[in-house]
Structure formats: C-alpha cells, structure tokens
C-alpha cells in the first residue's frame, strides 16, 4: 500500500542546513528499511504554472491553481503495510523536516 506524505508549509523559506541533514538521514532510513518509493522538495508556488489542455489550444496561467496560505512544500511516497506504519513514518518525517505533514493513501483500484 502506498501513501503520499505531503509537507505543509506557510512561509517561503527553504529548509535550513540542519533540517536538510535530518531529511537526508530520514530518507536513508526509508531506503534501508524498504519504505522508500520517491520523495522530493518543491520550488515555491510562485514558480507554478497551471495548464488547461482540454480545449483546442492549451491555456497557460501563471501561479498555483488555488491561492492559499498553506501550500505543498514537498512530499514523500512511502510503501507501508498499513496506516499505523505510515503514521509513525510520517511523524518521524514531520520531525525531520520540521513541518506539518498530511498522510493520504493512494487509491487502490
């Protein structure tokens, strides 16, 4: 079962060197223990472009699709046997990056 762990942030500052080091250590642990699928930090929402390609010609709009105080600063995708394991990993991830996170399961089809 895969879970998306979204990092929630409300300022435009990047991770500090200490936070980066903690995130690296956490990522190493995810890989060693077999929970790692993918992870990444995202550039600020100011760098986002919204595209609507449903019409004849694609429409490009500058900025994120919705203006909110809080935004997605990064994410992990983890492979975990159940929510208990995912919640524990997410708690450690939250500690490592020093930000709140949200756990959301991928849809099982």
């Amino acid at each position: 079962m895969q879970y998306l762990v979204s990092v929630i942030h409300d300022k435009l500052d990047l991770a500090t060197p200490a936070e980066m080091a903690a995130i690296d250590a956490f990522n190493d642990r995810l890989q060693t223990e077999g929970y790692w699928v993918f992870a990444g930090g995202l550039a600020s929402p100011n760098a986002a472009t919204v595209i609507d390609g449903r019409g004849e010609e694609a429409l490009f709009t500058d900025g994120p699709f919705v203006e909110t105080k809080e935004y997605l600063a990064g994410f992990w995708i983890m492979e975990a046997p159940d929510l208990d394991v995912a919640l524990k990993l997410a708690a450690d991830g939250s500690k490592a990056c020093n930000r709140r996170v949200e756990v959301r399961p991928f849809l099982v089809v």
Binding site: M1, P81, D82, L83, D84, L87, P105
Partner: protein, 417 residues
Amino acid sequence: MVASLTRRFGDLDIAEEAAAEAFATALQRWPADGVPPSPGAWLTTTANRKAIDRLRRENKRDDKHKEARILYDDDPPESLGAIEDDRLRLIFTCCHPALTMEARVALTLRMVGGLTVPQIARAFLVQEYTMGKRITRAKAKIKAARIPYRVPSAQDLPARVSGVLAVLFLVFNEGYLATGPDTDPVRHELTAEAIRLTRLVRAFLPEDGEVAGLLALMLLIEARRTVRVSASGELVTLDEQDRGAWDAALIAEGHRLVRERLAAGVVPGRYEILAAINAVHTSGRDARDTDWSQVVALYDQLASLDPSPIIALNRAVAVAEIHGPEVALAIVDRLEEKLAGYHAYHATRADMLRRLGRSQESCAAYDHAIELAGNTAETAHLTRRRGQLLRLGNAASGAPEADAGGSTTSTHREKLI
C-alpha cells in the same frame, strides 16, 4: 460474530452485512424449519457463506486473493479466547486515532456494541442522518487508508487506551439507561459487554489507573442494576433503592479497585474520580448517610479536569443536598444555554423547583424532561412525579410540598458524558 468475520474477511462492511443477512435468513427459516441444534454455529456458517457470496458478486481485483484466504483458512473452531482477541482487535480498529473521536465512539457502538444508528444518534443528541454518514465515512476511511485490524504494540498501547475507555463507558451508559421507546430500560447485554471488554483491557494494562477506575465505576453502577427499575418498569432513584439487594460482590470489587487507586498515590483521572464518587454513594447503609461534602469535593476535582456542563449539573445535585435547592437551582439555571436539549437538565430543574414549592414551573420542567427522555423507566418515573405534583396542586392549590428527602435526579448523575 462481526468481529470474527472482520478478522476473516478484513472488511467491516462485508462482515456487518453478512451477519445481518445470516440473522435475516434465520428469522425466515427457523420458525418453519425449527431452530437448528447449534444456533450459534449455524449463524456463523451462514454468515461466512453470505460473506463469500458477496465477495464473489463484488468481483474485486483482489477477489482471488481473498477467496484463497477463505478457502485455506483452516483455523480450528474458534475458542473463547480467540473470540475475545477478535473483539479487542475490532475495538482498537474502531478507536483508531486517525478517526475523529465521534467516529470512534459511533463505530464501536455500531460494530462491537451492535447498536442501531438511531440508538447511537440519540445517545449523542445528533440527527440519525448525520450519525449514519459519520459511520459510513469512518468505515470508508478504515478501508481506504488501511487502518490495521490488530491490537497496537505494547509501546503504543497506553496512548491508544484512553479513546477505547471513552467508548466503553458510552457503551455501558447506553446499556444502563437504554434509549428508545421500545427498548428495555436496562440492556444488560450492553453493560455486561462493556464490563467484559474493560476487564479485557485491564488484563492487558493492569497498571493503568484509568482502566481500573473505569472498571470500578462500571461495577459500582452495575451492582445496583437489578433494583434500579421497579417491577412496574419505573426508575427507582438511588435514595429509594433497597440497598440490601445490591450485588455485594460487585460493590466489594469496585471498592477494592478504588482503594487500590487511592493507595497508588497518583493524581486521579476522570474515571477514577467518578469511581470514587460512586464509592461514596455505595458506602452508607442508608442514603441519608451519604457524605455529600465529599461528593461535591470530588465533583470540583472532576470539573477542574473537564469543564463539561453535565458535570456542573451533577455537581449541582450534590450542592442541593448541602446548601439546599435554591442555591443549586441558581447553578443549574446558568447551564440552560448548553443543556436545553438534555432531559436530565430539565429533570433536575423540575426536582429543585418541586422542592422549592414552585409547582407550576416544576410541572413545565417535567414536561420538557418527559419530552426529551428516551428511557422508558425514566419516562415512567418522571410522569409519576409530575402526576403527584398535579394532584398535590389540585388538593392544596399549589402549597409547597414537603421535601421527602428524595431527589429525582440522583440517578441522572450516573449518565455522565
């Protein structure tokens, strides 16, 4: 049965519906074919078949996997211990911290306690529709997020227990003062179930003060169960109960647990305090021996932990015994905004107004209480009290009734939270 089906099929919906279908089939067949020699086993087998049928019909991607598990599940017939383990697992799943507190309580009552959605809705003063949705949403989250079906590890257990205790107490309360016009006023199966499950949790966590406190509380209330409702189906208040008919063994066990917690010298939690209050109520040979100042002191301690208006209401009942109904009524009246929809608020007011000789206001408050009360024995009791008031009013044109020392509300304090 739902618990063991959940373990086997890993899905609350399938387990619940299979159990319901099995009961429906039994209702159809047993009157015509006769009750099978082993009704429990018949129901379990039928429910298993229904669940398998359902899984086949649903044609999910993981059907084959599930079917394989079912076909090769050659566990020996379930022992009582295995069934208890299933229940414990189901409780921890239903009380998972990723669910809202409301959802945990509702789900446990539905899945473990077997209550209907209307009964649960009543117990929490919400609409049936809202409660139904809450349960459906919680079940969907368990499934989608894969909330595990197991007892948490020893390391996580203490943190998960408080939610479980809250749920068990609510199950107990629903048994103790069952709701619904067609329900028995006391549903012993629910109080017994709550006690059994609390003992089960205590076996896991013998050092936990709140687990011991909750068990003591339940035992001290359960001990009075048989004399709480009269032969005519009316509630008998604490002061009017035949104390000799209380279950002495349960009282002794409850008192022993309370003493054990006092001796531990740890700051008590809400259940320990509630248990201590009930220990005071069950200590005297006569209701008149009750140490009300100690009861008020314990409620003060409880209010500092939990500023709930219901605790304030129950405290007021004890205050009335020391400082009189006028002082207590002033406290109660301040709770109107928060408790106007709660029958015990009106019943308490009615009793205090009656004792103050304000018959007309008392009568109106009884009307409100009767309208809101869901328990048949309570309704009968309230109706008789109001009737006495009316007769008295007719005979003496509203002359104050002497306080017989009886307090209508003395039993309402049991239905906390």
